[in-house]
Symmetry: C2
Subunit: 168 residues, 2 copies
DNA sequence: ATATATTTTCAGTATTTTTTGAAAATTCAG
DNA sequence: CTGAATTTTCAAAAAATACTGAAAATATAT
């Protein structure tokens, strides 16, 4: 595969992956574009490369900045703002993971916790089964969540590497 | 929190979580409903409980059957079909994980692999940076993917439990 | 076989999400 | 300041996704 085809396919595929996992396609594509770019890119560069509107580019860039997985970079003698990606896979995946866990998973975990400990749920077969199932879910998510936190805490995915060596 | 409120909130929250992660809301809600239900439910039961149309219920149920996380169950002397959820968290999350990994992640992994080993990508700074970044991504996804496989292979999440004890 | 119950399909509709583009706001050099 | 360059905002349009409901297909009891 030649460079240009590879680049296009990568950006396209990354966008598809994003949208399948609840990340807006444009946002994923901008990250992909910046990830593989040597130089900082301006909003206009990004608009042109992905053929998207200024509004879309601006809002998507802002979201990536908010996630902390791309940075602003000014270029001397140029009024435009430029952007670069956080290139360390571990760092950006860590950030995405942490933010999404907090925003999306924590509400669920909290609800499971609250239901698990509620004293107001009765003892009928129906209500018991409900509580049992919620508790099981609560335990499971608790475990996964803790493991994820631990993984994310270790620098540069060292723990991940250790685990790999230990178990594979 | 009382049972009815808890049940409603759980189903609602599970639906939201699903849609944030690329799973249709109705599908997630049907799984939630069946998960906490003592008895098998018919299509009509599900339609009524979630106030959705027959078409929607039918198609969503089929998808859950395809994923293998709910089962058909016939009730003696009743012509209707009934459905029960796979209640073992480990089993159903394993199935979802495996299917989504294969459908959505594998195409990306394969592309990264192909680009990583392409002999047609040149040595300009631009193309080198591209290859470097793709290789890093390839290594990372390879590691995560292997760990995931390993986790999913161990029965009942024993490995997960071991990891927890070992590291926390 | 026939009638009835049940399930499936899918064209049309509704809803949600994403994108556009132009106006408004901001920034900054002279 | 002034005005050109740049960025931001957001109402409206477009696109993608999900849902409905009724007709068609299928299954089953008598």
């Amino acid at each position: 595969m030649k460079y240009n085809e590879a680049k296009e396919k990568f950006i396209e595929t990354w966008g598809i992956l994003g949208s399948q996992w609840g990340v807006n396609k444009t946002i994923a594509q901008i990250q992909a574009l910046l990830l593989i770019s040597v130089n900082p890119l301006s909003t206009d560069d990004i608009m042109e490369e992905l053929t998207i509107s200024r509004g879309n580019a601006n809002m998507s860039i802002r979201e990536l900045l908010d996630w902390g997985i791309i940075y602003k970079k000014s270029i001397a003698g140029d009024r435009k703002e430029y952007f670069v990606a956080e290139k360390d896979v571990w760092k950006w995946s860590h950030k995405i993971g942490t933010i999404r866990k907090q925003r999306e998973l924590n509400p669920v975990i909290e609800l499971l916790q609250e239901i698990s400990t509620s004293k107001e749920i009765g003892k009928s077969e129906e209500e018991q089964e409900f509580t049992r199932q919620i508790k099981e879910l609560n335990m499971f998510t608790g475990q996964v969540s803790q493991l994820a936190d631990k993984l994310f805490l270790s620098p540069k995915g060292e723990l991940l590497l250790k685990l790999m060596k230990m178990f594979l």
